[in-house]
Subunit: 288 residues, 2 copies
DNA sequence: AGCATGGTTCAAGCATATCGAACATTCGCT
DNA sequence: AGCGAATGTTCGATATGCTTGAACCATGCT
């Protein structure tokens, strides 16, 4: 089959409009170019140049072959660029697991950067809830996780943590619904980890388990029960009186969310880019 | 840069799931495969395989490289297929010049065939009028021309002609417009050849020159004058009484349109395909 | 332990791309 | 016309590098 090198020669000849010039550009001797062309014609099965005149010129079919061949050359350049990037610390994929309580805005705003063709890293985001975050992070050996109340336990060395903006949780219900601790139904988001049974945390009280925070908010708006929601989901509802704080001993709680990564794997450029989008600064990708 | 051959090796390894199997498929010895992989890794600048385990497996970056590299392989196969077709008598471009009097339907219906990716020939159609057809055919050294009243003159050997369906011309005008030879304005389509002055054929009578037959039909419908039109453009108008035949000695004329090609250049597969669309049968492309 | 499997290393041989020089051809200039 | 410059080709020599086969190492299975 036609080789990339042969196409490169044809391309140079077309741009330089001469075998000799092309040879010069390619840092080869004219006979080498002539040889390469002959090889290409052998492969193609038809003459690529019309040599009847003093200056060789492309045959129509030859030129068509070059036109199409340039696609191959572009593809080849693309691939080499990709290889160069992968070699200098860009991960092929960045897998991030996010706790669904957290605001998705900053995460979603990172997407355009990763859609840029000059960024080889593919971004994959999974949203999980509660224990499901850690579970997914471990099972899929993801690169980063954004979560609240993370305790590395004994192997504090195993993770590097970056602090994110604090996350306020508020205990709310629809005003006039009479939903409150003791008198109503508590709404909670179900743990997305398949092994964990939601009920195990119910503590004996009546609890309704919901699949995510958006369902939970909808249920709260409907006056189905009372429950905790992250503040960013309810500021609007509180302002418009669609939801109201519930009277309780503890009706507000602030978490310090973190993004965690395994200390054992080097921090790639894709991860660094992502972290920068989250407002984490001072991240230096480790050069491999 | 990474060569097509190296990618082919990586691809085989992935499909066969083993260096040894891949070597077998590629009809090479295992060490050759190992060598090629090492070369590829050298080029890439990072390890493509994880050799820590018994069986070598792709690194994430290595697999990503292969995924993208397969695009190159597809492109390469495409190009080789194109070369094979160009070598076996498919022209890179088929340039057809059509006289605007003729119905375009059969010509336009050929387009889908040439849009087929398995047909490498690009179809280019130019519409001209009167002498403009011959002129364009000669100037652009087109491959085929569809025209009426073609006389090869002395060098009847220089062209091969194929007959097309007869073309009836009718002399028409808007009914009640009073437009007729002697009493009205004759409408004629201007010769599209830039050198030819339309007036040279006017014969002293009053003649209005129009750019094409669709304009001419519109002018006739408006009652601007009388004139000849190909039947296929006016059957509907005649049926609905928007136009009517004009009283004259000769109010109808039938041409025998032909498609002509130079006998000196071999008939390509693209041309043969096009001719088949025109209903010309028994065309055999000359194998080059 | 022994063997099969999967991959690597190494030296040798062979193919092939490159080079340099000599040659043909055409164009342009004097 | 005649000469020189430029273009592309041919050809033998050379060197690079691909391929091979055999020996070698590691791992997993019986």
């Amino acid at each position: 089959m036609l080789s990339i090198d042969q196409l490169r020669v044809l391309d140079a000849i077309d741009r330089c409009a001469s075998f000799a010039e092309a040879a010069h550009e390619l840092h080869r001797v004219p006979s080498a170019v002539s040889y390469a062309v002959r090889q290409a014609e052998e492969e193609a099965g038809f003459p690529i140049f019309d040599r009847s005149a003093r200056k060789a010129s492309f045959t129509p079919a030859g030129y068509r072959l070059l036109e199409e061949g340039r696609r191959l050359l572009r593809e080849s350049a693309r691939l080499d660029a990709l290889a160069a990037q992968l070699a200098t610390g860009w991960e092929p994929e960045l897998h991030v697991v996010v706790d669904g309580v957290l605001p998705m805005g900053p995460v979603l705003r990172a997407y355009p950067s990763f859609a840029d063709p000059t960024v080889p890293t593919r971004l994959r985001v999974d949203v999980e809830y509660k224990q499901g975050v850690l579970r997914r992070f471990a099972d899929a050996s993801a690169d980063l996780m954004l979560l609240i109340g993370f305790d590395p336990g004994e192997d504090t060395e195993a993770f590097e943590l970056f602090e994110l903006a604090p996350l306020r949780m508020v205990l709310v219900a629809a005003p006039g619904s009479g939903q409150a601790p003791g008198t109503g139904l508590e709404l909670a988001v179900r743990d997305s980890s398949p092994g964990v049974d939601g009920r195990s945390f119910s503590g004996g009280r009546e609890v309704a388990w919901l699949p995510d925070f958006h369902s939970k908010r909808t249920a709260l708006l409907e006056g189905v029960g009372f429950g905790w929601l992250p503040e960013h989901l309810v500021t609007d509802d509180l302002a418009h009186g669609r939801l109201a704080p519930v009277e309780a001993e503890v009706a507000e709680w602030t978490y310090a969310p973190v993004v965690a990564r395994r200390a054992s794997v080097p921090l790639g450029k894709g991860a660094a880019l992502f972290l920068r989008h989250l407002g984490v600064d001072g991240v230096r990708p480790e050069v491999v």
